[in-house]
């Protein structure tokens, strides 16, 4: 059925931009599923034509950016055509005075930040894999980092998008201005879509002045309860940290080691506060943190290279590379309930190895990582804790063989029927990322 798809794809993108070599295709495998062919479109229109061709043949499509991490979600049911966006790269519109930038989807975040940095600006996003990841991939995977507490999430920054739809049209949503209520906010269709809604070809973001150097205030405390007490006190204070993390002893050792910072007490929890902005404000954060930490724990202030490396390590904590062959979970819920989620993850009973926990304690998102053998039991207890707190838990990464045995997506969300109808309207032939989304959505 998909027999002549490669020929058709070659007509669309040209032989130089089609990959049919088996070894090259093997390197594009997702969860062990090797694509039949991969194409690098040179425009949104080409991407759209590729999907039309796939649709006519009932072929399954996997959009791909840098491909750093394709493995969120279920194991692909099929992979007939990979649409690789890396030829679609570069900034398309940037007037620094507007604090808005547009770039093609295949642009690596690193390249975008480098150009913005020349004007002391940045996209205030510090996601895992921030370097190589493409902006299209970041949007599709909805990746956010620790600094979201002060600067917001990708959802708050994306103001316009151009997308090639599975039905063959290239559309735009939103625009190039920071406030816009003309029509529906369709940008929201594509954030976190994991490739299901089409191939993102260009994105427009609102950006910010670069805040300059920051400081880390690291407080070590004896227990989870003490860490929770401290993060709660910080959230009730007038402090405005750029990020606020709580790390269990394993996660704390992991991030301090990655950053080359002196090892903390091996049994201590860590509360990490990131202060950025005006010097006066940073001094205040350090002073008040001293008072808040008080007798609760030991305080240390980091600057310069150690500070920078530490936040890089915090951002990368959810990366599969950080937990080889392990299982990584993301859970979210009411902000102050992070400690309940953490105890859910850590009280699974008789673990084969440690369960590391890092919580974005100011935004209620928590990452947990454990050995593959503990995956099912941690999934069950974290899932139960998340449900009890009114939150959710998902598996972000796991060895492919284990995936079918894990509740990757947790219980169905409200509005599932609406999501199904939307999927049907935008991808009527069901060709996009089959098997990847939860609850049968793709």
């Amino acid at each position: 059925m998909t027999g002549d798809l490669a020929d058709r794809a070659r007509e669309i993108v040209g032989a130089a931009h089609l990959i049919t070599d088996q070894a090259a295709l093997a390197s594009l495998a997702v969860d062990g599923v090797r694509p039949a062919v991969a194409a690098h479109p040179g425009s949104g229109e080409e991407a759209a034509r590729l999907m039309t061709a796939a649709g006519e043949r009932g072929a399954a499509v996997l959009p791909r950016g840098a491909g750093v991490h394709q493995h969120l979600g279920g194991v692909p049911a099929r992979a007939d055509l990979v649409i690789d966006t890396r030829r679609l790269s570069g900034i398309t519109d940037y007037v620094p005075a507007d604090y808005v930038v547009a770039a093609r989807a295949g642009t690596p975040l690193r390249d975008l930040q480098a150009e913005l940095g020349r004007h002391t600006q940045w996209l205030p996003l510090d996601p895992p894999g921030g370097g190589a990841a493409t902006i299209g991939g970041l949007i599709a995977a909805n990746r956010n980092g620790p600094r979201r507490l002060l600067y917001g999430s990708i959802r708050d920054m994306l103001i316009g998008i151009r997308v090639a739809l599975p039905t063959g049209e290239v559309i735009k949503a939103g625009g190039k201005v920071v406030k816009n209520v003309a029509g529906y906010d369709l940008t929201k269709m594509f954030i976190g879509s994991l490739g299901s809604a089409g191939v993102i070809v260009e994105a427009t973001f609102k950006i910010s002045p670069f805040p300059g150097d920051g400081q880390t205030i690291l407080v070590t405390v004896p227990t989870r309860a003490a860490a929770h007490e401290l993060t709660t006190a910080i959230m009730r204070s007038y402090l405005l940290p750029a990020a606020l993390e709580a790390a269990d002893p394993h996660a704390l050792r992991h991030v301090t080691k990655a950053a080359g910072v002196t090892a903390p007490d091996p049994n201590a929890w860590g509360v990490l506060v990131l202060a950025e902005g005006l010097a006066e404000s940073r001094v205040r954060h350090v002073d008040e943190m001293r008072a808040l930490a008080g007798s609760r724990g030991r305080i240390e202030v980091l600057e310069g290279a150690a500070h920078t490396a530490l936040w890089r390590a915090v951002a990368e904590f959810p990366s599969p590379d950080a937990h080889p062959a392990g299982v990584i979970f993301r859970a979210g819920g009411p902000i102050a309930r992070w400690a309940d989620l953490a105890s859910g993850a850590q009280e699974a009973g008789a673990p084969a190895g440690p369960v590391g926990v890092l919580a974005h304690a100011g935004t209620g998102v928590l990452y947990a990582a454990c050995a593959a053998a503990d995956g099912p039991s941690v999934a069950a207890s974290l899932g139960a804790a998340a449900s009890a707190a009114g939150g959710y838990a998902v598996v972000e990464a796991a060895p492919p063989a284990l995936k079918p045995h894990l509740p990757l997506w947790g219980p169905p969300p409200g509005g599932l029927e609406l999501m199904r109808r939307l999927r049907e309207k935008f991808d009527p032939r069901g060709i996009m990322v089959p098997g990847r989304l939860g609850w049968g959505l793709s």
């Binding site: 005075a97 979201r148 406030k179 816009n180 209520v181 003309a182 269709m189 002045p209 404000s281 935008f426």
Partner: protein, 491 residues
Amino acid sequence: MQLADLRHRIEDRTALTRALQEVLGSDRVFTHPADLIAYEYDGAQVLTAIPDLVVLPGSTEEVVGVVNAARRHRVPLIPRGAGTGLSGGAITPIGGILVSLARMKRILHVDLDNRCAVVQPGVINLDVTKAVEGSGYFYAPDPSSQSACSIGGNVANNSGGVHTLAFGVTTNHVLGLTLVLPDGSVERLGGRGADEPGLDLTGLVVGSEGTLGIVTEVTVRLMRRREGVRTMLGIFGTIAEASQAVADIIASGIAPTALEMIDQLTVEAVEPVVHAGLPLDAGAILLIEVEGVCDAIDRSAGIVDEVCRKNQVREVRIARTEEERHLYWASRKGAFGAMGRLAPNYYLNDAVVPRSQLPAIMRQVMEIARRHGLRVVNVFHAGDGNLHPLIPYDAAAPGESDRVLKASEEMLAACVAVGGTLSGEHGIGIEKNNYMPWIFSASDLDAQRRLKAAFDPEDLMNPFKVFPTPVSCGELMARRAPRLAASGLWI
């Protein structure tokens, strides 16, 4: 095509009324023209249209009952909050059942440590902040109409406010929703935490102008009040100097929480009402607010002061007391209410341009007004590039309404031409739906229609809004009610 030809016809009005009365009792179902007339127009006064019926449900279950009755009779549903909307979103151009959510005004739950509150859609925006400010929290989106408009209307219009520059618009502050769909089903969307898996339906519903369903509950984000705030007025000779100061303040990196422009005509209208002591001869006044920890406020304010001086500011005033700060803000938020002093009617425009285009577009706006022999008043969200040229006029003067419409259309076209958009916060409604093709291709609009069809396949929710219609803007606008805005109502 004539609007009258498109009016929806209810086949069995008696049976429909009875069905609604079974759900709500007879005292919350209005059918008498004397009762209906109060719902004839909204803040836009773009068009008047009498609804066939008005209902006032008090709970999600009652909304479901209303929707089911409407569905059985295939009658359109038009949700309405406080009716302050400025694009005609809450009126019934082709008739139908107007569903007022005004009775649903309870704050159901406040959770400070988790920084959220669950409220019914009829809750007045300012009441959310009032409920939590004693504990040091607030609800960030603060439209100038905040003492009157409802959270449901804010959600539908994705409303912004004077602190949007720093805190964002409604969509950045809505965590979850309960939505009654036109098939009578109830969906609880979002609300389970950040980066929730699945499609972001909450984000799609915010800004959908009541065309996807009826919102019956909203989980909003609360923010911690900042420790210190400094409110300043930069008094400038010209709008151009003030505009440049706006650009330079943003570039300085201090992230002010508000940057609002007030021009000379506005001061003339508002000063006799508010008495804030604003100079009547200043070409433009910038209202600037910086917030943060107290330790950093002096420095931030110092940077603002420095930037203003570099741009030939005549004077920088700092609010010394809370009372003075309120006076400054009253001059800004009360501006529209005071316009009644300038003329019997006003037409308020809303458009956005890339921020660097602001000085140039202001010149064009003034030029367009001059060419049409009209005055124009400017009071707007300068930091966001969101302008609001307001044209005072007299609808009773022959031909004047037409000139106002023509000039407004030209201003909007000028904004679109420099990469701007049709509306920054007031919405499309029935005011601008026929301009949508200016910025969206047929495919873009088709994609939006797919979203609509997934939620509302039979087109029962708030029809005739957002998407282009077979009736020209001209016909809709020609029926504009020559009414005087209740001046001061929204101060």
